[in-house]
């Protein structure tokens, strides 16, 4: 190629001039852009740059403890550590280093990487927590590798500790890492990684127990050195929550129920205080405090005994004969019968063309002629079938609903079930069929569609024994109720007065159940004024029950006992699922009542207690002639 110079070999001058204008115009546009940002919007950007200089370290609020009524610690905290990653020098986080960290801390490398890249969008002075509630070996790894990994630091946190392990687990509940669902809920105060109450008291009173985390904030200069502190967010420790639960009584109830499937609830019917609440089988909530492993979780959720369920408030079952107290109340209060109304029980009765058996039918004899007292004492089914026919479903349902069944009691626990009191309307709505009057006959003895929870039975019978004052059951001490913003207030009660005559008749009947060789004779204790009612509720029809040997089809055993028989101080409901016969449930309640009684005796008697003792000694109840045990 030959390049020679030609004198007249030039481009037209305007072409270069065009380039000159192009440069001028583009530069002018760029300068306008810079002017807008650097002068026009300077304030906004200066503020954002300031925010980038804030280094904030979280201070985790210690969670409040849970105490029993005497102040004994049921749920506590233990100091622990989370591992934090400081990202101030992002360049130092080479892939090799991140890999070594993941290995050292037993973390999934992919997860760690994505956590780091997710966080890279934000303020680099904000550390991220890469291993919450770390093991001791992780803490020592961080401390022994400080020169190698200066980016790792430990954050003091609190691990939840349940010192009595599975003790009252269903009632106290457990904590766990907040779920995505909980974080995403509109207005949710939670951030990912927060530890919150997931069930029981821990969940109900989470906002009280959790307090609020603090933040220590400092400003760094252009070299990353602290140059001043900003107003830090003070840590507000969680409040202790004092329960009405009594550790000693709870212990007796736990032991009494043992490895049986069921629940025990003990209430003070005068106040609604829950003295004990047990649901078995149970689980160890300590397993949830850290990350629960998949296997344990699968095991707990697959267990047919449903250990994560609080059966005291969530098991909805037929109450069996205990419902007879409701039927009897309805019959007396409506004036349908008087207490001397008698029925002859031959072991079966035919009503509406259907033959209903008494529970004694299999033994080949009935109860003979019985009055109301003996019908309660010996749990005569035929007597109450007759009352069921006389009353009809509407009256029974009216009384059942007003005495605490078919609706949540309003206890301060999450996920309480409401049970069910059937009515013709309900049958039509759910089953799209007409109510059959014969169904009322089954309901009268607590079978058929009627369903209750153990708590409801304790609540209902306790309220009846108190003359129709139904105190809302609660776990938190009423003295704390106002401060804790609970859903109940001290003294909350539904009133449904029961006539004095009715009350005396019922009370004497239930005293007889225990003390006159009735179905609850197993609860009889010398010197202790216990009354109660048994229930043996069919789970399935008798035919199916016989064809299956599995205990899942065994009858559920119920007993509700209270003490003293008038103006009771404690009412205990016991459910043993598949227990077969109510006699299984009776001694459990007896032991709980005895524990309460013994504890009361060992204390200096108060005026009220002294009065009770005087009354006991003077023998308030005439003991009618007993009949043979069944």
């Amino acid at each position: 190629m030959e390049f020679s110079s030609h004198q007249n070999d030039h481009f037209p001058g305007w072409k270069v001039v065009f380039f000159q204008y192009l440069v001028a115009v583009v530069f002018f546009i760029l300068l306008v852009g810079y002017w807008k940002i650097q002068v026009g919007e300077h304030g906004r950007y200066a503020e954002q740059a300031e925010r980038n200089r804030i280094r904030s370290l979280p201070i985790i609020a210690p969670r409040g403890r849970v105490l029993d009524r005497a102040g004994r610690v049921l749920v506590n905290n233990a100091p622990a550590f989370s591992v934090m990653l400081l990202r101030e020098n992002a360049a130092s986080l080479t892939p090799d280093k991140v890999g070594a960290m993941a290995r050292g801390l037993n973390l999934d490398l992919g997860e760690l990487r994505s956590e780091i890249s997710d966080a890279s969008q934000g303020n680099r002075f904000q550390p991220i927590i890469i291993k919450p509630h770390a093991e001791l070996e992780d803490a020592s790894f961080v401390e022994s590798h400080q020169t190698e990994f200066p980016e790792l630091a430990l954050l003091e946190v609190q691990d939840r500790v349940y010192p009595y392990h599975s003790f009252a687990a269903a009632t106290l509940g457990h904590v766990g890492e907040v779920s995505e669902e909980q974080v995403d809920k509109p207005g949710s105060p939670y951030r990912p990684g927060d530890v919150v109450g997931q069930s029981g008291v821990e969940r109900e009173y989470n906002s009280v127990l959790s307090g609020s985390d603090g933040m220590r904030r400092t400003i760094v200069n252009s070299r990353g050195e602290d140059v001043g502190s900003m107003t830090s967010i003070e840590v507000v420790p969680g409040r202790d929550v004092r329960l009405t639960l009594d550790l000693d009584i709870q212990q007796v109830a736990e032991t009494g129920l043992g490895d049986r499937n069921g629940a025990v609830v003990a209430l003070d019917p005068r106040t609604g205080d829950v003295l004990a609440m047990v649901s078995h089988p149970t689980y160890d909530p300590n397993g949830f405090a850290r990350h629960i492993d998949r296997e344990t979780w699968a095991h707990l959720t697959a267990d047919p005994g449903k250990p994560l369920m609080n059966k005291a408030i969530q098991a909805q079952l037929a109450p069996g004969s205990i419902f007879k107290i409701i039927t009897a109340t309805a019959a007396l209060e409506t004036g349908t019968i008087t207490s001397d109304f008698t029925v002859f029980c031959p072991g079966e009765v035919t009503i509406y063309g259907h033959t209903f058996h008494d529970w004694t039918f299999e033994n080949g004899h009935g109860h003979g002629r019985v009055d109301l007292h003996n019908a309660i004492v010996h749990s005569c089914d035929v007597y109450f079938y007759t009352l069921g026919k006389l009353l009809g479903i509407d009256k029974m349902a009216y009384f059942a609903k007003h005495m605490g069944l078919g609706a949540r009691t309003g206890i301060d626990l999450p996920a309480e079930e409401s049970g069910l009191v059937p009515s013709p309307e309900w049958v039509e709505k759910v089953y799209h069929r007409k109510w059959w009057p014969g169904e009322a006959i089954s309901v009268a003895i607590g079978q058929g569609a009627v369903m209750v929870t153990p708590l409801q039975l304790a609540y209902a019978l306790g309220g009846i024994a108190c003359g129709g004052v139904f105190h809302t059951p609660h776990l938190v001490s009423p003295s704390d109720a106002l401060a804790l913003n609970t859903k109940f207030t001290a003294g909350d009660a539904k009133r449904f007065p029961i006539g004095a005559g009715t009350l005396e008749c019922l009370t004497r009947g239930m005293w007889g159940v225990v003390n006159e060789g009735g179905t609850g004779a197993g609860a009889k204790l010398p010197g202790i004024d216990i009354a109660g009612k048994t229930g043996t509720a069919q789970v399935v029809s008798t035919g199916l029950q016989k064809s299956s040997r599995s205990s899942t089809f065994n009858n559920n055993a119920w007993f509700v006992g209270f003490e003293p028989s008038t103006k009771p101080e404690i009412v205990v409901a016991v459910l043993v699922m598949g227990g077969g016969h109510s006699a299984v449930a009776v001694p459990i309640a007896r032991d709980v009542i005895k524990a309460y009684y013994d504890k009361k005796q060992s204390h200096q008697p108060t005026l009220e207690q002294a009065e009770t003792q005087v009354r006991l000694l003077s023998g308030p109840l005439q003991v009618p002639s007993g009949r043979g045990k069944h």
Binding site: M1, V16, L31, A49, Q121, S222
Partner: protein, 361 residues
């Protein structure tokens, strides 16, 4: 009569403006690394500025016609260099740097000069009113082949800078409307194909520029933080060594591609205006050299260089404030990088060579 290229005709003004910009860059590198282990980096920049000045002297002594005559050789050498580069060990995920023992050479920076020379060589003898298809095809190869090789490194930003060199050359010799229309159509058809060849992170940059809310990996983050740096600098700037955004690491590689954000944060709008004026003066001086060049070949060399510098300055300064998507295009003379500084000074050396041999009446 063309001047003989005497030393007394050397363009001290052009070189002086370039040196001032380079020194401002070196000072800013010092400022942003103050108190860090990288504080010595500015010395390297000064050293390359010095070497660049010497190089500019040497190149200015050579008659640019002699360089243009060897354009095919230089082109062959440049392509060979880029091919060899693809077989080296990647550094930080890319094959851009050729190890020389004492330093590394970014081959694509020198290839920019090769393309300027090649484009000028192709178009210098065009006596027609406009570029022919043959010219356009030649230009396509001269720009396309190295651009493809550089894009493979991968370094799409640098590959893009080759395009304005050819475009400016074509505009100088003129082009028929028909050709423009066909080229535009071809370009439009190639867009989806080109998109197909983009790497995921490159696609994200484009997407995050068009839809900032869809950004997932952080190219929008870089643009945002760069804007925060510049905006927080205000009218007078935060002062020497006090740019928190750049020094606290919110601006990635604050000494290289994002140098101007670093500078703007510390020196404010006043500093921005000053440096932009310097670039403006530099470019106008180059265009003046192009206007007064002895022949078309000289004009084309200088216009090519001016187009390259103008493109790089506009894109780099524009992307700092979100006018353009983030691409790896350094700010000539200011961004840290020996190869870039050296190549710019050598280019200026060619321009001075053209000026020293300008037409005298």
């Amino acid at each position: 009569m063309l001047r003989p290229g005497k030393l007394k005709d050397f363009d001290w003004f052009l070189l002086g403006v370039a040196v001032v910009i380079a020194v401002i860059g070196a000072i800013e590198i010092y400022s942003t690394t103050l108190g860090t282990p990288l504080v010595g980096q500015y010395r390297k920049q000064i050293l390359f500025t010095f070497i660049g000045c010497l190089g500019a002297f040497v190149v200015s002594r050579i008659d640019y016609h002699a360089i243009l005559e060897r354009a095919p050789w230089l082109f062959g050498l440049g392509v060979l260099g880029l091919v060899v580069l693809l077989f080296t060990k990647p550094v930080a995920g890319a094959r851009r740097w050729f190890p020389l023992g004492f330093a590394t050479l970014q081959v694509s920076e020198l290839v920019k000069l090769v393309i300027i020379v090649s484009v000028a060589a192709i178009l210098a003898d065009r006596r027609d009113e406009a570029a022919t298809w043959k010219d356009l095809l030649k230009l396509g190869i001269v720009v396309g082949l190295p651009a493809a090789l550089v894009a493979l490194e991968p370094d799409l930003g640098t590959a893009l800078t080759f395009v304005p060199i050819a475009a400016a050359g074509v505009l100088m010799v003129g082009i028929r409307f028909r050709h423009v229309a066909v080229l535009a159509l071809f370009g439009a058809l190639m867009l989806p194909v080109g998109w197909h060849f983009l790497r995921p992170y490159q696609r994200e940059r484009v997407v995050s520029f068009i839809h900032p809310a869809q950004d997932t990996r952080g190219s929008h983050y870089q643009a945002t933080q760069s804007k925060i740096a510049i905006g927080s600098g205000g009218f007078l700037g935060k002062g020497f060594g006090s740019g928190t955004q750049s020094r606290l690491g919110f601006i990635p590689v604050s000494r290289a591609d994002f140098m101007f954000a670093t500078y703007s944060e510390e020196q404010g709008f006043v500093g921005t205006l000053f440096v932009m004026l310097l670039y403006f003066v530099l470019l106008l001086r180059l265009l003046d050299v192009a206007q007064t060049a002895g022949d078309r070949a000289g004009s084309l060399v200088v216009v090519g260089l001016a187009a390259l510098l103008f493109f790089q300055v506009s894109v780099n300064v524009g992307m700092m404030i979100g006018f353009l998507p983030i691409t790896g295009i350094p700010l000539p003379l200011m961004s840290q990088g020996g190869s870039s500084v050296l190549s710019t000074f050598l280019g200026l050396g060619m321009a001075i060579s053209v000026r020293m041999r300008r037409l005298v009446n």
